[in-house]
Symmetry: C2
Subunit: 471 residues, 2 copies
């Protein structure tokens, strides 16, 4: 049960107090222990209760990070990295207290190589800042998880988002990392070559490790050329099944869609109401194509045929940027449209991911479950990956409402797992999904714990995330 999992851990009061003293001395104004700073750094965009760190270091260099890690390691005090706080499963909470490392001042582009299509950045840069810096190079960083997250945070949670179907997830786009490990030293996980068979893939081990194995101090990313032309389109379908069939055919035919997003009827109703639109309130696919004038037109025509075959309405598409923005407006505002359905309620965004052959079934069963429980919960899916989100609107102050949501999330995850899916396609485990991870991977979690113990023997790195605290 997701919410009940969030317990406070044991606090090492003596160690914390010692480290507070050390950091005050070393960092002066760049170390803050005031309530408002602490609250800002436990803020999560989730339903999970905030658990505040004891202090916040505003790091400006890898040396700062080393100094914090060394002090915390010596006194067994938790270290919690903080990007912009957009994680959804409590990743920045501090259940055992400790020190939050704020990366907002480590937001520089360190180098760019247009010939190699790669860039090295400090972890605090956000993806929008990065893309602004890249603009003159003709290159862009494609991963878009929705929020303007930091690159370090996206790396730590193995983020993906709308155009992962074309460009992959963070695991596919991080070439190399530097990381401060438990001994306070900085290591580099890989050289900058595009591929390597040199030893264990430490890069991928740190991508998605949610700050539990070390603190990321720089990220080398693959980049893509900005497409010459971007096309966008929208198509409504009579059922989720029909829409998913169109997705499967699109993927099978190898049409390189950049985005293919599924909004269910409830979500479309919310979008219409919020943005004063008049889309059919039916399951709808939003598509984006990246290429040249010719290939975008070709891909759009191919998809239109598929849509017709699957019983879809007319496929509206355009390669005009302004019209595309209009068509996609509903998708871009989906989250706020959903919240506006019931502004007085809390919103809980959860995600699962299944093989795409099971997506229609998983979404349909989930919709039936929502209806049966009388929940208000629009669904948005990154359909090309089999990944979907349910935004459950509920009253967080009403225990009965909370209990109902917890039971729903339990069923949603069991359903996805039974279909050979995963309890999270992109949000991570954090505090919210620890029990589902155990269900999903069983014995493999023992291996993960062994790795955690080996690399972080004092359990200082983001304790109480991914695994239940042994303490």
């Amino acid at each position: 049960m997701a919410i009940k999992d969030v317990k406070a851990g044991l606090r090492n009061e003596e160690g914390i107090s010692t480290v507070l003293g050390i950091l005050k001395q070393s960092f002066g104004e760049r170390f803050q222990t005031g309530q408002s700073f602490r609250e800002q750094h436990a803020h999560t965009t989730t339903y999970l209760p905030a658990q505040l760190p004891d202090g916040v270091v505003f790091a400006e260099s890898a040396d700062d990070v080393k100094a914090v890690v060394r002090a915390c390691a010596e006194h067994r005090v938790p270290v919690v990295p903080f990007g912009v706080g957009s994680s959804l499963e409590g990743q920045v909470n501090a259940p055992s207290g400790g020190i939050s490392i704020d990366f907002s001042r480590m937001n520089k582009v360190l180098r760019i190589s247009p010939a190699d299509l790669d860039v090295t950045v400090e972890p605090g840069i956000t993806r929008e800042e990065l893309n602004r810096e890249l603009r003159d190079t003709g290159l862009f960083f494609p991963i878009d998880p929705g929020a303007n997250a930091s690159i370090g945070g996206m790396t730590a949670t193995r983020a993906s988002g709308t155009n992962a179907v074309r460009y992959g997830t963070m695991k596919d786009n991080v070439l190399s990392l530097t990381v401060v490990t438990a001994d306070g030293e900085e290591i580099r996980t890989a050289q900058r070559a595009r591929k390597s068979s040199a030893g264990y893939d430490l890069t991928r081990l740190f991508v998605g490790s949610e700050g539990t194995l070390g603190v990321i101090t720089s990220v080398t990313l693959r980049l893509q050329g900005i497409p010459e032309k971007i096309g966008g389109g929208v198509c409504a379908f009579p059922s989720v099944k029909a829409a998913c069939d169109a997705v499967i055919m699109t993927v099978q035919m190898g049409i390189p869609v950049a985005r293919i997003e599924l909004l269910d009827d409830v979500q479309m109703r919310a979008c219409n109401a919020y943005s004063k639109l008049s889309y059919p309130e039916k399951p709808t696919l939003f598509l984006e194509f990246h290429g040249t004038e010719e290939t975008v037109a070709l891909q759009s025509a191919q998809f239109a045929e598929i849509a017709t075959e699957c019983g879809g309405d007319d496929f509206l598409w355009t390669a005009n940027a302004e019209e595309r923005a209009k068509l996609w407006h509903a998708r871009h505002n989906a989250y706020w449209a959903s919240r506006a359905l019931a502004p007085e309620l809390d919103g809980l965004s959860t995600d699962v991911c299944v093989p795409i052959s099971r997506l229609a079934e998983c979404v349909a069963e989930t919709q039936a479950d929502i209806a049966e429980q009388g929940l208000l919960a629009p669904i948005v899916g990154h359909a090309g990956d089999g990944n979907f989100h349910v935004l459950v609107l509920f009253d967080g102050k009403d225990p009965a409402s909370v209990e109902k949501v917890e039971a729903f999330i339990g069923r949603l995850n069991h359903r996805a797992l039974a279909m050979d899916g995963t309890c999270t396609g992109e949000h991570g485990i954090g505090q919210g999904k620890m029990s589902f991870l155990e269900e999903e991977l069983g014995g493999a979690v023992h291996l993960m714990r062994t790795i955690k113990q080996g690399l972080d023997p004092k359990n200082i790195f983001n304790p109480g995330k991914i695994f239940r605290n042994a303490e």
Copy 2:
């Protein structure tokens, strides 16, 4: 120095003798200890001396693998997985003796899902067998390391090959694994969803771990639709620099070449002699395009423009399968053509990989080094990835010749590392590149060792590979 690294490890004679008895009893005829079986299972296609296992189990199921691992774990005896023995850095050698697990009988396709574009196979199936089995589905598995390697072996060494530039390497194409771990239990690293943020990426940790962390018992792979049309082409350039410039422009423009291979002038001379062809004996790119009639033609035309701009000769290309086979004949036979330059000599195939902006420089410096040393050593590169192979022809029985080659390989690796490259793009570390791994990643190797110790505390899994034996 590569060759001197290959030392025998300490042998646990008592344990080995006990395990031989246990396995004879359990496996009968499926356990062989005869000299010829042992020799076959230490055969490597490399310059490295063979180090024989003490016996070979022909596994037929994961339960067989568990039984072997349990016996070997109890008595601290090495376990060396064996696919087809095509690894190049001594990965199947048994420096401390022990048991080879032969996977040739575990070669079944366990399931296929055309809708999900994925398949689960036993590790002993070779890539050609797999593609034969897939033919009716319209799908194929794209990774092609040259040799008809087993999927298990390709997974273990993080193989890639000619079309990695389009389809990625094994790390990008393995969705999930089952693995027998040190306690003799089988775990699954991931569900079958196309992406996941659920805990540490154990899949990618095992991909490329060269049998040192556990024994792979099944592999779930991503598949691709067989392209409607395949185009092929060849283009000679006045210099390696000009050819590499064409590669960089191709990648920067986002032309989705399926293969872009560089053969140097020595290699082209070898190909002409071997296959009685009359290609210009100049640095030459071999290309392949996957798509439709239209896109293959479009991409070929785009590349032709780039080639002209970079000073290349006419770009010969065709979408006719037979003509394409003729154009590519030279590339396909490059290895044998090289060996035929001096059939009496030994051949040592080594690889490094650098950022593509440094490829021309790295190849040119290596050619100068070869010339200066009077070596015979054609170069073939997977240029789109910055990865290239040098096939050094030398007399393995002449210590002076061996020493010269070792010194050359040392310089080659230092050169690649200095250019932010890796000591191996696709062959792995095995026994041959342990010292270069240390040079390349330094402190990160300490983390790898920690992981190894945690997951294989008795050091039974392929000891003496990747890391020097502590024994």
